[in-house]
């Protein structure tokens, strides 16, 4: 069995480590390129959201590399993500590929379902093996998140353009090569040191911008035209609302073990504007914007794929949030035609606006 899965930011490093520790042969899709996007949008429904198209592109390129099994997450709606697996399977089968698709459905409090689904992928293995694999996967995931977070804090102060990004790149490579949780911790410390060493002092006042929106668009630099890097290199401190490890704790771990209560905070923050969950990240988008406004950030950017239903509701309500709390908000909607240059121009204009409103406030 040669297993593959869709890419999401740098998380494939952790996913690969987890699966390889269980003795599974992993074929990673190559990093997304223009070809991935064209292949994906060629074979996907026109009005499907962008993540589905990029996933299809990933799968096609992985199948070319010899993968024969695809793992995908399922869901219970109302967001379209829950039907991704089925639609993607039918599209790829329609193209004549021979493969097996394993859709991992959310546990909804049924641990036995999780275990059965895991067994289907890994075959019977001792429990200690699962724990060991989970440990290394998790330590890599948290390390990646910590490095990415640090990069956001350091980029506005880098000595020369792009040096933090290349230090991050190198650090991620070390994380990828680390073969035990101890080695991961070591690589993490080294990476942090290396990134800090290429920066000047970090005390001057920089504009602070929060990024909110749909999880895939926030986490995958390829589809959001590297918005974090662009902003950082313009001298902006970026606050990202979603990290994959937090997301997994909130949506997977708490869903599997129903002893922990899910956080009610987003619903309370969003209540004056949106008082019911709408699937996807709709409520979280509004809640994070409110939260950022209260923290005194200078602006918020919402990123969403074209036709994303929950984000459209949020987008519709964000102008009211912006007016009420006095925080500039911009929405960027991405699809397969988005270009980095167009995005860059709009980011520059937005930063100008943010700087002006900062000066006016002083």
């Amino acid at each position: 069995m040669k297993l593959t899965f869709a890419r999401l930011g740098n998380s494939h490093i952790a996913g690969k480590a987890l699966l390889e520790a269980l003795g599974i042969d992993v074929v990673l899709p190559p990093p997304p390129t223009k070809r991935t996007m064209s292949l994906g949008s060629l074979h996907s429904p026109e009005f499907a959201c962008l993540p589905l198209k990029v996933n299809i592109g990933n799968y096609l390129e992985a199948l070319e590399k010899g993968a024969d099994t695809i793992v995908m997450v399922g869901g219970i709606g109302p967001c379209r993500l829950g039907l991704y697996g089925e639609v993607q399977r039918q599209i790829l089968e329609g193209l004549g590929y021979d493969f097996k698709m394993i859709v991992v459905e959310p546990p909804q409090g049924r641990l036995d379902h999780v275990i059965r689904q895991l067994r289907e992928i890994t075959g019977a293995q001792p429990v200690t093996q699962y724990i060991r694999a989970g440990h290394i996967g998790w330590s890599k995931l948290t390390a990646i998140d910590a490095l990415e977070k640090l990069a956001l804090e350091l980029r506005p102060f880098e000595e020369s353009r792009g040096c933090v990004s290349s230090a991050l790149e190198a650090a991620l490579k070390c994380i990828d090569e680390a073969d035990s949780p101890k080695a991961v911790a070591f690589a993490l410390e080294n990476g942090k040191e290396a990134m800090k060493s290429v920066c000047r002092k970090t005390d001057s006042k920089k504009p602070r911008i929060g990024i909110v929106g749909e999880v895939f668009m926030v986490l995958e630099p390829f589809v959001n035209c590297e918005i974090e890097k662009c902003l950082g290199e313009m001298g902006v401190l970026v606050y990202r609302s979603i990290y994959l490890s937090d997301w997994i704790v909130e949506h997977v771990v708490k869903d599997a073990f129903r002893i922990f209560r899910k956080s009610k905070l987003p619903y309370e923050l969003a209540k004056p504007y949106l008082c019911h969950f709408v699937g996807g990240h709709g409520v979280e988008t509004i809640a994070s914007t409110v939260d950022y406004a209260r923290q005194g950030l200078d602006g918020v950017i919402q990123v969403a794929p074209f036709t994303c239903m929950p984000e459209i509701i949020a987008q519709d309500l964000l102008p009211t949030v912006s007016r009420d709390l006095g925080i500039p908000v911009m929405t960027l909607v991405f699809d397969e035609h988005s270009s980095g240059t167009g995005v860059l121009t709009r980011l520059e204009a937005f930063i100008d606006l943010v700087q002006m409103s900062r000066r006016a406030r002083r």
Partner: protein, 340 residues
């Protein structure tokens, strides 16, 4: 003066208006429906919504605005779910919030939260809470609720018999607009077909009710097809048993009520020998339809395209001439496949 409740003629008005009207009238209120969708209605909706919102949601906003000043409260329910473990569409879940923030001229919004995804108890509680806004007499509310339930069941039976929602409302005497659409009672083309001598042309029309039954958004598709000599069957004319049986063919259960019904009806229409052509009508950038359409497309390919299948997408710019040409071409193809 009696309090008036305004109903925007959009979205699921086409399914749930009869029941709610009977409910409110039993509680001594009058109901007012906004006029038919027009260009002006759509334009006023477009002005207050974001570009990315779908056409039916924009139209809904337009209808709400057209009710401003004409009624005391506007009925904008939060339709989360009407059956177990299924939703309708995320946008309907956030609709009252969107209306409240976009249509600033609206005095009061009546927004009961309809959620039957876990059980019907919550729904019942919500109905009583809504009734209590008008009367403290629980008995009156429960009578009104029962009446509304009966009306709804009678309405659904009429739809299954082959009437369009507006025709069914006229038949039940709960529609008081001046625009009598097709007061002659048609027949369900599928049941008619069995005993008939000459075989009529039957087209299966798939689409959300707020598109195919709205003469402006759906470009009068029902009348157009009829005038071309085709009999139209929609998903509302199929029995729930057929729809559920067909929809169960999908290994993954579709978690949108309308999506699952469209998929079930679509699989049924694509079975050779049921209809002569299957036409899907959908709004630009409709989320659920993009997936349902793809699943039907794949099914059509698997069945070697024995039944002609076409998708028409409407948006605020759609021109009538374009629709007419495509419908004519489709009916021609359907006729040819019938003779084959």
């Amino acid at each position: 003066m009696k309090e008036t409740i305004g109903f925007p003629r959009a979205l699921l008005f086409y399914y749930y208006y009869p029941a709610w009207r009977v409910f409110f009238e039993s509680l001594g209120r009058t109901c007012k429906v906004s006029g038919k969708t027009t260009k002006a209605v759509i334009d006023s909706g477009i002005k207050v919504t974001v570009d990315e919102a779908c056409l039916p949601v924009k139209a809904f906003h337009g209808h709400v605005q057209s009710l401003s000043g004409a009624c005391d409260r506007v009925f904008v329910p939060r339709l989360v779910s009407v059956e177990k473990k299924a939703y309708i569409c995320p946008k309907l879940m956030g609709l009252p919030d969107m209306v409240r923030h976009n249509c600033t001229g609206i005095r009061q919004i009546l927004d009961p939260c309809i959620d039957m995804s876990r059980n019907r108890k919550a729904f019942k509680r919500e109905v009583y809470a809504t009734g209590r806004l008008f009367t403290q007499n629980s008995l009156r509310i429960s009578t009104a609720r029962r009446k509304a339930q009966h009306t709804y069941e009678a309405f659904i039976r009429l739809l299954e018999a082959g009437l369009t929602p507006i025709d069914a409302m006229i038949k039940l005497n709960i529609y008081d607009g001046q625009d009598f659409e097709n007061s002659a009672i048609p027949h369900n083309a599928l049941t008619w077909r069995k005993g008939a001598e000459t075989r009529p042309l039957v087209i299966g029309l798939l689409g959300h009710p707020y598109i195919i039954y709205d003469s402006f958004l759906g470009m009068n598709v029902l009348d157009r097809l009829k005038s071309m000599g085709a009999n139209v069957v929609t998903m509302d004319m199929l029995s729930p048993a057929i729809i559920e049986r067909e929809a169960a063919k999908s290994p993954k259960r579709v978690f949108w009520t309308m999506g699952r019904r469209l998929l079930g009806a679509g699989y049924y229409f694509l079975t050779p020998g049921v209809v002569d052509g299957c036409l899907q009508m959908s709004a630009f950038a409709c989320g659920p339809d993009s997936f349902i359409g793809e699943l039907l497309q794949q099914e059509s390919i698997r069945s070697q395209r024995k039944v002609p299948f076409m998708t028409i997408i409407v948006d605020e710019h759609t021109g009538e001439a374009g629709i007419q040409t495509r419908l004519e071409a489709f009916v021609d193809i359907a006729e040819r496949s019938m003779l084959r």
